[in-house]
Structure formats: structure tokens, C-alpha cells
Symmetry: C2
Amino acid sequence: MSDAPFRQITIVGLGLLGGSIGLAVQAFLPGARVVGYDADPVVRSAAKARGLAHRIADDAHGAAQGSDLVIFCVPVGAMGAAARAIAPGLSSEALVSDVGSSKATVAAALAEALPGHHIIPAHPVAGTERSGPDAGFAALFRNRWCIVTPPADADPGLCARLIAFWEGLGARVETMDADHHDKVLAVTSHLPHLIAYTIVGTASDLEQVTQSEVIKYSAGGFRDFTRIAASDPTMWRDVFLSNRDAVLEMLQRFTEDLTELQKAIRKGDGAFLFDHFTRTRAIRRGIIEMGQDDARPDFGRSDHQPEG
Amino acid sequence: MSDAPFRQITIVGLGLLGGSIGLAVQAFLPGARVVGYDADPVVRSAAKARGLAHRIADDAHGAAQGSDLVIFCVPVGAMGAAARAIAPGLSSEALVSDVGSSKATVAAALAEALPGHHIIPAHPVAGTERSGPDAGFAALFRNRWCIVTPPADADPGLCARLIAFWEGLGARVETMDADHHDKVLAVTSHLPHLIAYTIVGTASDLEQVTQSEVIKYSAGGFRDFTRIAASDPTMWRDVFLSNRDAVLEMLQRFTEDLTELQKAIRKGDGAFLFDHFTRTRAIRRGIIEMGQDDARPDFGRSDHQPEG
């Protein structure tokens, strides 16, 4: 009766990602049933009120019953505990997946918590700086990449169904191994977040410049960093702890490059600065050509500017 | 016959900022006449074709003739030379201003090039990563801050007219002294640009991660940095050279803070990371409350997403 790649999907953790999956399944995979669960009763109430799933389970034990796909949408440091809580109701036929931002650590945590189960981790590269059960929306994954990281012994049929599931939600899917994923995301996501968190903290600690001045004149570039640095603190703490080696490696390279530019400024070496700044434009062009962003000035934000 | 604060405005340099001023004067100050000049004949032709001014002057000498306001919109390192080129046609009654991103160095360069003239520097905190005569648009300054930095001996009447001019283009105006401006902007704009330029360079130099992967998965946070790092290389080279001391001071603080977070990651100090990441959310809230940005996820970009 249904063409959906899975008959019933359980989502564990109903924040931005989990809530968005719940809404997206209902919007784009009408043949599938979706069950939601969150360890926090306040979040469960909010999820019921927003209709994030067809049914919100009241306890972990019953949440996975009857589901052929269970997706963990909790901070990567909480994956193991969430999996152990769900285990009693979990069918051995079901596919277990997640949406965590680091993959090698999560794969190990899920494998340890759920021995003998089918596990194929995944990471939809999508999000906003908002979090919680009110933050999700059905279109979050549309035209965004989802990276699936099947272990070497993964069942190819289940892997194909997981890919079909994410494509059904509008994502473009790529597969790679977990270690490579963690290196790629260390530079495209984790390091940018770490730097944004740092500079926003630096700005708020200044004595000579007031916080209200920092906020007022943020349109000069700082604003983009504050958006990133407003992301969920628990999620990001766990990302840095779980992808430590790759993050520290990328950070080391960044620091070397920053020191070189610092030296050029100190020496007044304009040619070095100009060459470096010219080179970085090409990457931006690549991103716009790939359709990963809007080329219009201000991303079209000026259309919606407050009139105040 | 006109309520415009200036009768005729000369714009020297017809890139993003100069072109936007030309279009904004025509759109919002209909009583004023605007004359444009650029040292590059190719830019002058493009400016004529786009109608960036009522008249495009063919030489520097004639560009300022008859104008009661002359605004230099060239990279900050070129202000002195541009002012000397324009000087022969400049009335001693005219007000001289600019739009440079650093103010103490520019004020000194203009004062040296134009002794005895009225000079009140200004900095509209607005822009996009695009540059050149095709990049400007009339609404660029709407609801953006413009910082006016009058020297101690500035004529109060001229200062009031310059403020009225920027308000006429839609900006919100604040005044402060040049040194304080340079400290504020070092943290809200110059340091963010330096960091964005650095990380985009770091990413493009990696061996283990391909450039196409960096581009593909940029939605994780990196994308915002590439937008900043696509800004005009000449302009930014000059900003770092002209505001060197304040930039190096802010960079030193940033590096200390980054080292502290790096150490927390290495030691696995989750509590330190969590506390730091929680603190930075407040600044984001302040920016949204000030109306300096759009609170919607993705700034409403999802409305305009390519379908491909």
C-alpha cells in the first residue's frame, strides 16, 4: 500500500533535527507512519502540540516497537545512553541510524549499545542556529546534502532504503566512510563553529568597546559569526569532544595560516595580503555554482528588512 | 527649490559603495544633483550605462567643480592620491568626506592632501561581498548604521548636513571619534574578515579533503565565512594596513581565547566548552532585538532555494 522506504519510523530526540524529520516524513512520505520520543516530558508535550509525529511515545521502551527504522537525533554524546534506553523494544530487523555531526564515535557508541543490530549512521548537513521542538520545519533537508556512512559490513539493501528515505525528504545523498566524513566536516563545519564561538566570546569580553557597540555595528561581518555561535551548546560541546583529533588537526593548520597573515599585517606586506585575499574568492564562486547558496547581496535579506 | 542637505554631490570611485550612493541620491534625494568620477575609464563607461550619476565626469580635475559635497569611495590606501587628483577643482566651501572602513588613517591622509578644506570622514557600515560598478543598489544603506567621525575642529553646521545626508539615504547615524571607531570596527568587521580569509585559505590547502568536498558540505557553517572572504581584496588589504594596531590587538585577544578552547578540547573539558558556548548565544539575541538581522532560520533563504 505504500512506496515509502520504511513503514514506520521512530525518531528519538525531538529537537530541530528530529522535529524536522517528523514534519518532513508527514509532508513528503505520506505512506509512512512516524513515532516520536524524547526523554524530556516538556519536549514531548511541545512535540504533541506541534504534531511533530503521528504518535508521541510516553516511554523509551515502547518508542521503537513496530518500527523498521529508528533514528537517533540526540547530541552525539548522548547516543549510547539513548540507544540503551530504546533497546528493549527494538526489533532485530530494524535499521538503526542517527543524524549526528561526527560519525566514527557515534558508530562505535551505537554498535556497543546495540550489539547484533543493523546500524548505518548518517549526517544531514542542514540546520539553523535555533534548537528545540519548536525549531523544526519540513523543508529543512530540501536540496541539502545528507552523508551516509555505512560500515564495511552494512546490508546493501538497508543502505539503499536509507538513501531512498533521505532522498524522499528532499536531500541529496552521498556515501563515504566515517573517518573521511569526520575530516571533511572538521573543516567545513566544526572548525568554523569553534572560531565563531571564539570571536563572539572575545568581542563580549572587551573593555574599550561596549557590547551594545558590538551588536550595533555587527553588519560589518561579525553578524555572520554570531549566527553560527548561537547554535545549541550541548550539541556542539559533544561534537568537539567526539571529533577531537580531526578538529585539533584542522585548528593547528588554521593557526599556522593566521600567524602568517598576522605577520604580513605587522610587516605591512600588502602584496602577501592581496594575493591571499584574491585566492579565497574562487571558493565562494564554487559554492554559488553548486547551488549551495544565494548569490544575491545579503542573500535577499534586504527584501525582508525590518522597517524600524 | 530643494530640501536636500547638499545641492551637488561628487562621488569619487564608482564601486559598490560609490555606485550605491549615486543610485540612492537619485532615488531618495531628488533635489540633489550627483556627479560621478572614477580613475578607471572602463568603470566610468559601466557607470554611465547603469546611470549611477546624473553626470559622469571624464577627468578628475572637473569632477568636483560646483559640488558642495565630495565623497571619496576608493580603497583607504588610495584616499590621499584621489584627493590630490581632485584638489584643483575643489571649492574651499565644499565638505569633503569618504566611506572608508578605517578612519584615523583616512582622516590624516585627507587632511594632508587637502590642507585648509572642510573634512568630516564617515563610514557607512553596509556592504556585500560584491564589488565594482555593477554591484551597487539604492537600498544598500537603508536601516544600516553610518558612523560619522568629525575631527575636534569640525564645522557643526556641515556636520549636521552630512548627518542629514546619510539619514536621507536611509541610514541611522552615530558619531564618535576616529580612534574609537577604529577599535570598534576592528572587532565587528576587520577581525571577522581576517579570520574568514584565513579559514577559507586553510580549507583550500588541505590534501586529505578535496576542494569539491569543502564546497559541497559548506552549509555546515563554512559557507558564511566564504561570503565574507569573497570581499574586495584591494579594499581589505588597505583596511588591514591602515588599521594595523587595533587589528593586531584584537587578533592577540582572539588567539588567546582560541588557545583556551583548544586546550579544553584536548583535555576533554566539556563543562568549559558548554559554558563558553552558552554565553555567546546572548549576543545573537541582542543583534536580532536591534533589528540588525533576520531571526528566521537561514535568513529566509529557503524561500529562494534553487530547485536543482
